[in-house]
Assembly symmetry: C2
DNA sequence: TTGACTTAGTGTCTCAATAACACTAACATT
DNA sequence: AATGTTAGTGTTATTGAGACACTAAGTCAA
C-alpha cells in the first residue's frame, strides 16, 4: 500500500468506522417560571437504557439535519416545547466511561430559558411522558436517569451564578414586563429578597431596557412596561447583585 | 426477534458501531508566561488532515486509559510538557459538520495554566515540531489548522475574563512568588496597568495567600514571598479588578 | 365624592470597596 | 554616607449599593 501524499487522498481512505469513538449526545436543562416557581422540563424515558426513569431532554446529533451543536439543541427544544428562539447557552460537557451503561459516552449540555407564555408542550414522537418539575424538588433527590442529577445541578448553579451579574432573567419573561416582575424573577431564581431601589437603579443604569410606552393596569398604580433592548438579551452588569449587609 | 424486556438484555444487543456518531476529540490551549509574555503551546501537524499546519495540542480519547474527559486532557498535557498538576478548566465544546474535513466532529476544549519553571518540553512521539507562541501574535493571524484560531480565541477570552475576578494567575507562577510578581502576571494577561495599593489590599484581604517566611533578595529592598493556600488555587474575589477611572 | 388600600416609584443617608497618589522602608552599590 | 531602586503604607475622594422612609397614582367600597 503506497503512502498517502495529499489531503484529498487521505480523505478518500478515511472511514470513521475504523475508529472507536464514544457515543455523543446533547442534553439540556430547559428552565421556565411557572406558577411563580423556577421549573425544569423532564421526560420519562420510554426505552432502554434507564427505561421508566425521568431524564433531561436530549438526544443524538442528526448528521443530516444539524450543522452544529446548537442546531441539535434547538431542534430538541422546538420539538418538545414549540419554542424556536430561546436563550440557549452551552454549560459544560460530561464524558466518562461510567456515566452510561453502554460504555464511554460524551454529552454536551445546554441550558435554555424560555417564557412560560411561549410554551406549547408536545408529546410529539414516542408519546413520552413530559412534565415541569420545580427545581427545589430536584436539587436533593437523586432520582434522574444516568448522571442527569449532576448535570442538572451544574445548569442550576450556572443559572444562579450568572444571574448575579447579568440580565439573563429577561429571557424568562414575555416581551413586555414591569420592573417589579423582573425583580420577582431575579428573586425566584436567586431565592433571596432584593432591595427595590438598588435593583431599579442598577437595571435602569445598565441601559439594557427601554420603555415601551405601555402600562400594566390593575387594582393600583399602573406600572410602566419595559422590554429588553439589543444589549439586554445577554448583557453583563458592572457589578453583581449582592445580598443584604 | 422477540422484544427486549430488561436493561441487561438491551445492553447485550447494543453495539456502538450501529450508530453514526461524530468523531470526538479533546483539544487544549496551554498557557504559560515565558520571557514576560503570555504564550501558548502549538504543535506542527505531522499527518493529514491539515498536515504541516500549526495546531493546538489535542487528540482522541483513549477508551482504555482515560476514565473521563479531564483524564484525556491531563494525559496530553503530561506527554507534551511534563507537567502533571496543571490548572485545568473546561472551556467549551465545538461541534459541526464543517470544522473538520473528515465530517461531523466534536472537540471538547480545555485551557491549562502552567508555571514556566515546571515545563520540560518533549517531542515525545511522532517528532512533532513544538513551540511557544506569544498570544498577541496569534489573536489576529488566522493561520492555525481547522477552527483552532476560533478555539484559541475562546480560551484567551475566558482567561482574560476570569482573571478579572479570580486569583487564577497564581497557577502561572512557581510555588513561591512576590506580590509584585503576581501583579505583573495580572498585568501581562489583562494587558493593562493595575494600581499597586489596590491590588495588594485586595489580594491580601481575600486571604488566598500566605507568607512563606522567605524573602526574595536583589539589588534593593527584599520582598516577602507568598504562596497560594487551598483557596488560592481557584478562588473568586468579591469584586473585580477594574481599570482606571 | 372621599378616604382606605395597594403597589409603583423616588430621595437621601450611610457604608464599603477601590483608584489615585504621595509617602516611608529597606536593601545594594558606589 | 549618599544615591538609586524596588517594597510596602497612609490617606483621601469617588462611586455604587443597601436601607428605609417617603411620595405618586391608581382601584374599590362606603
Amino acid at each position: 500500500m503506497k503512502p498517502i501524499t495529499s489531503e484529498k487522498e487521505f480523505l478518500k481512505n478515511y472511514n470513521i468506522h475504523d475508529f472507536d469513538v464514544p457515543l455523543t449526545s446533547v442534553d439540556m436543562s430547559i428552565f421556565s417560571i411557572i406558577d411563580d416557581e423556577l421549573q425544569v422540563l423532564l421526560l420519562k424515558r420510554n426505552d432502554y437504557p434507564a427505561k421508566g426513569k425521568w431524564a433531561l431532554p436530549g438526544g443524538f446529533i442528526d448528521k443530516q439535519q444539524d450543522s452544529n451543536l446548537e442546531d441539535t439543541a434547538k431542534r430538541k427544544l422546538l420539538a418538545k416545547t414549540g419554542v424556536s428562539t430561546p436563550y440557549l447557552e452551552q454549560v459544560s460537557t460530561f464524558g466518562s466511561k461510567q456515566r452510561d451503561p453502554r460504555g464511554w459516552s460524551v454529552t454536551i449540555v445546554y441550558m435554555a430559558l424560555i417564557a412560560a407564555d411561549d410554551i406549547k408542550l408536545s408529546t410529539d414522537d414516542s408519546s413520552d411522558e413530559i412534565k415541569w418539575q420545580p427545581v427545589y424538588q430536584l436539587s436533593n433527590k437523586p432520582a434522574l436517569a444516568f448522571d442527569h442529577n449532576e448535570i442538572f445541578n451544574h445548569c442550576y448553579e450556572r443559572l444562579k451564578s450568572k444571574v448575579q451579574y447579568t440580565s439573563l432573567p429577561v429571557n424568562l419573561l414575555p416581551e413586555e414586563f414591569t420592573l417589579t416582575e423582573l425583580q420577582t424573577t431575579f428573586e425566584i431564581i436567586l431565592d433571596m429578597p432584593i432591595e427595590k431601589k438598588s435593583f431599579r437603579r442598577r437595571i435602569l443604569d445598565a441601559q439594557i431596557l427601554e420603555e415601551t410606552g405601555n402600562l400594566r393596569t390593575g387594582n393600583n398604580r399602573p406600572a410602566k412596561l419595559y422590554k429588553a433592548n439589543k444589549l439586554g438579551k445577554d448583557h453583563f452588569f458592572q457589578r453583581s447583585i449582592e445580598g443584604p449587609r
